[in-house]
């Protein structure tokens, strides 16, 4: 069922945690709320769960206003950051807790718990106390406890943040898989952009002031950030100030790195007075026929890729980051190279266009 948040605001003692936020979560998708810690994403989640009352704004679920529905009557369930498993109950009782709360018939509780336990490979653990479980197991119990209720919406509150890296990678695959199996609408709060990419269909990026920076699918957010905040939050980026030569709605002509280029205006970020051209380090490709030339100023080995910091040949200021796989090409500091920048839609050099 799709969920709609409209004009939501919440402040704590004059600190605005969520600032007039509106968004739509499409039915059956995972929707990530991504932002630095303290940006209000958890607050939004708790408002949706009904655990916090918003200062203003409404929440609609399947078109019905649920803003004033108490948390225990909402068809939403939260998977808490530290799981919030009941330490005095065993795994079975934790999972069945919500069913009992909803007075589901005793005879149907057991099969439902068993089904969900099987789905999450928890069958062997049902009699255990929660403190006897590993982090990953606790995570699965928390998930089972939520899923067994067949909620309309599951709210994930940084559910993987207390797991170690390898387990985190595994669990996020599992969460995505289970979400696809069940088709339950999910909202997933995280501060880890990689996690958001891996798990979400849609991402909403928030800044520390509790405002929305951008909403979009992972690729758009990554390759077409609309603000420098998003550009930098999503990973390392090249944000190079350019000189505007001509500015038309559908096409811009700019001077950049000693070249005049025609580009799609949406590649430019215009937050400051001087617009910036944005592209990712991996968009930079060595190309003997490329229209830009540079000197390798620094070389930094990062593992999967090697990062090169490029300087202009004529010594003009500015630098470009270029990430290359070790097998692609291996340069040394001081090498002179030519390169192109891949963007969608592509950048075109005016000279090369004239030449063709």
């Amino acid at each position: 069922m799709d969920l709609s948040v409209q004009n939501l605001s919440k402040s704590y003692k004059k600190n605005l945690a969520v600032d007039h936020v509106s968004f739509e979560v499409p039915s059956g998708k995972i929707y990530a709320l991504l932002g630095p810690s303290g940006c209000g994403k958890t607050t939004i989640l708790r408002v949706i769960a009904g655990l916090i009352r918003p200062d203003s704004g409404r929440i609609f679920l399947g078109g019905k206003d649920i803003t004033d529905v108490p948390p225990n009557e909402r068809p939403t369930v939260t998977v808490f950051q530290d799981y919030a498993l009941f330490p005095h109950l065993n795994v079975y009782d934790n999972i069945s807790y919500g069913l009992k709360a909803q007075h589901v018939k005793r005879s149907t509780i057991q099969p439902r718990v068993y089904d969900i336990a099987a789905m999450l490979s928890l069958q062997e653990l049902l009699a255990r106390k929660t403190h006897q479980l590993s982090g990953g197991q606790q995570q699965r119990v928390a998930l089972a406890r939520a899923l067994v209720l067949n909620p309309k919406v599951i709210l994930f509150d940084e559910p993987l943040s207390s797991l170690d890296t390898s387990l985190r990678l595994k669990m996020r695959q599992e969460i995505r898989k289970i979400q696809e199996q069940t088709g339950v609408t999910s909202i997933y709060v995280t501060h880890d952009q990689e996690e958001a990419f891996a798990i979400a269909h849609q991402i909403m990026v928030m800044n520390s002031q509790g405002q929305i920076e951008q909403i979009g699918d992972p690729e758009t957010i990554y390759y077409h950030p609309r603000t420098s905040f998003v550009a930098n939050f999503m990973g390392d980026s090249n944000l190079i100030p350019v000189t505007m030569v001509e500015n038309r709605p559908e096409i811009s002509i700019i001077r950049f790195w000693g070249q005049e280029l025609t580009i799609d205006p949406q590649l430019l970020l215009r937050e400051q007075e001087q617009p910036c051209l944005f592209f990712r380090p991996e968009s930079v490709l060595p190309d003997p026929g490329g229209c830009f030339s540079a000197i390798i100023d620094k070389k930094i080995f990062l593992g999967p890729v090697t990062r090169y910091i490029l300087k202009q040949v004529n010594g003009a200021s500015g630098e470009i980051l270029m990430d290359l796989s070790h097998y692609q090409q291996d340069y040394r500091e001081g090498d002179k190279i030519r390169f192109t920048i891949n963007t969608i839609p592509p950048i075109q050099s005016i000279q090369s266009r004239d030449g063709s």
């Binding site: 708790r46 009904g50 655990l51 948390p71 225990n72 909402r74 919030a84 009941f86 330490p87 005095h88």
Partner: protein
């Protein structure tokens, strides 16, 4: 149809819960605020107009002397007991000598015996017919006087300070000390720059408890002070001998003021200084990794610990021997006659003490926990007010609360004096802050999040409280239960004005026997009381789990004594 019934059921349960919760402010108003208002009214009001007339005796020579005496005794004793407590805590937590665990039990033995028992022993040893003064030295004098009060207060209260400080000391992360050493600080420097500052919350908490305990104690000054009067004993005399309630009320308020002051000073300092983990469950024994002190310091600390342990041992031996001696001071032959008297004529008192203690132990913590939950649901000024009222009994000395109950419930609309109920009530209220604070701590640490989870999973308030909050509160309940039982068994200050011939208590019997010079009988009553209290807490501890109950008991009492009030009042 079914869902309609379910909705109705939920509604009924929610209303039931709301009713239960609403009882909290009602209890607060009727049994805390109302008596306090009454005592203020009696002391400073004539009808409806404010007056200082009742306070004038204070300005006379006798009144001023009482104030100065109180200040001298309470300050000296508090400082002494706290320092001794710090030394004992360091000796036990940081030391490696054998038997230091037993030492903790010795300290607990202090806690479970009535407050003036040291005074009883002192009279038996150093009084006019004392074993040492009379029997051994052949003297006809006694060592009573204000020095005796200070000495006994330090001895008795050092164990409280010790338990509180030791539990904080144990929880200090040993890595902090290690890294200070690693950074090149000398051991002495580590102690003064790391360990001691981290102990400060514990030390302050100990000061509050010890101070409140000492200033409220009228038994010790009456028994060993000779003519030396302090506020508490003066208030006692004003009520029981002269029935001058207005003046007694003034004295009571004066008694309560410094306690309130110390409590809120401690609270405010503590709020900035919460460096140590407050988890109830986490109490690691850092025995293996502590940086030791130099040899001389350690030797000194151990000697003090050993002397203290010996004194404790002496105290209880004298009680045990005295209970089975024909006539203390004249005929030291074995005799059961005192015990016989206790078991026959004192049977009523034994029964009363036990019944009241069990009632308080079972009901009190429940009210405290419900109150903690109720208050945590509220916000803003109302919440702060409730919180203040809930811990108010903590700062009101026992005799003061006793006097306020006499004033409040002797006349309509609510006449309770003379009943057993009022004794149970006064003890429940006295114990309220312990289970309230313990409940609040648990709630803040774990239950808060889990409560949200429960609501989120669709449980109503009733189910949330009884299936999640309350089970999580069991440690708090246990702490409250043990303390409530111990305190009700050993209390005297709060109940002495409420006791009637029909519902006499063991502590009352000890006090009146000793005060009338029947030392053997006093010892016998004390002996029986200590044994019953010990058995009682063992049984209560076993209610939860049979195996490991000793460990659990130790932990509950120790952990519980951190911020709560593990002492006996009087």
């Amino acid at each position: 149809m079914e869902s309609k019934i379910r909705k109705l059921k939920n509604k009924v349960q929610d209303n039931l819960f709301t009713g239960m919760a609403l009882a909290v402010p009602v209890i607060f108003v009727v049994f805390i605020i109302y008596p306090v208002m009454k005592i203020i009214g009696a002391g400073f009001f004539d009808g409806t107009s404010f007056t200082l007339a009742h306070a004038t005796p204070l300005l006379e020579e006798r009144g001023i002397r009482v104030l100065l005496n109180t200040a001298r005794v309470s300050l000296l004793s508090t400082v002494g007991a706290t320092i001794l407590g710090i030394i004992l805590a360091i000796g036990v937590v940081k030391g490696r000598w054998p038997g230091r665990r037993l030492f903790t039990f010795a300290a607990i033995l202090h806690i479970i015996s009535p407050p003036f028992i040291a005074a009883v022993v002192f009279i038996m040893l150093f009084g006019r017919r004392g074993f040492i003064t009379h029997t051994l030295l052949g003297l006809d004098t006694s060592f009573i006087g204000w020095q005796a009060i200070v000495f006994l207060q330090i001895l008795g209260n050092a164990s409280i300070a010790f338990l509180v400080i030791a539990s904080v000391l144990r929880r200090i992360d040993p890595n902090l000390e290690k890294s200070a050493l690693d950074l090149g600080a000398s051991r002495l420097r580590v102690f003064f720059t790391v360990t001691l500052p981290l102990m400060i919350p514990g030390i302050l908490a100990a000061v509050v408890l010890v101070f409140a305990n000492i200033i409220a104690d009228f038994g010790t000054p009456i028994l060993v002070g000779g003519g030396f009067r302090v506020l508490a004993s003066e208030a006692y005399l004003q009520v029981l001998s002269l029935y001058n309630m207005p003046y007694a009320s003034v004295l009571s308020i004066l008694l309560a003021l410094p306690c309130l002051l110390v409590l809120f000073m401690e609270k405010n300092i503590l709020s900035d200084r919460n460096f140590y983990s407050t988890r109830l469950t986490q109490e690691e024994d850092a025995a293996d990794q502590r940086p030791a002190f130099n040899l001389i310091t350690l030797a000194l600390v151990y000697v003090i610990c050993i002397i203290y342990a010996l004194l404790t041992l002496t105290q209880f031996s004298v009680i045990a021997i005295g209970a089975f001696t024909t006539t203390w001071g004249h005929d030291f032959s074995f005799s059961m006659r005192h015990i016989d008297i206790v078991l026959n004529q004192g049977a009523g008192s034994i029964k009363n003490s036990l019944t009241f203690a069990i009632q308080v132990a079972l009901i009190g913590p429940f009210i405290g926990i419900v109150a903690a939950y109720y208050v945590s649901l509220k916000e803003g000024l109302y919440r702060r007010t409730l919180d203040f009222v809930a811990i108010l009994p903590f700062a009101i000395p026992g005799p003061v609360i006793g006097i306020s109950y006499v004033l409040a419930f002797h006349n309509p609309p609510l006449i309770l004096t003379g009943t057993g109920l009022i004794i149970v009530l006064v003890c429940i209220i006295r114990e309220l802050p312990i289970s309230y604070n313990a409940g609040k701590a648990v709630f803040r640490q774990v239950a808060y999040n889990l409560e949200d989870a429960s609501k989120d999973l669709g449980a109503g308030r009733f189910m949330t409280f009884f299936r999640v909050v309350f089970p999580l509160m069991t440690p708090a309940y246990k702490v409250g239960m043990l303390h409530a039982f111990i305190h009700t068994m050993t209390t005297i200050g709060a109940v002495i004005f409420l006791v009637t011939p029909k519902n006499k208590l063991l502590t009352f019997e000890i006090f009146s026997a000793t005060n009338s010079g029947y030392l053997g009988l006093g010892a016998a009553f004390s002996f029986v009381l200590i044994i019953l209290t010990l058995v009682g807490i063992l049984v209560l501890s076993m209610l939860g789990e049979i195996p490991g109950f000793l460990k659990r008991f130790r932990k509950d009492v120790l952990v519980g004594s951190k911020r709560t009030k593990p002492e006996q009042e009087l």
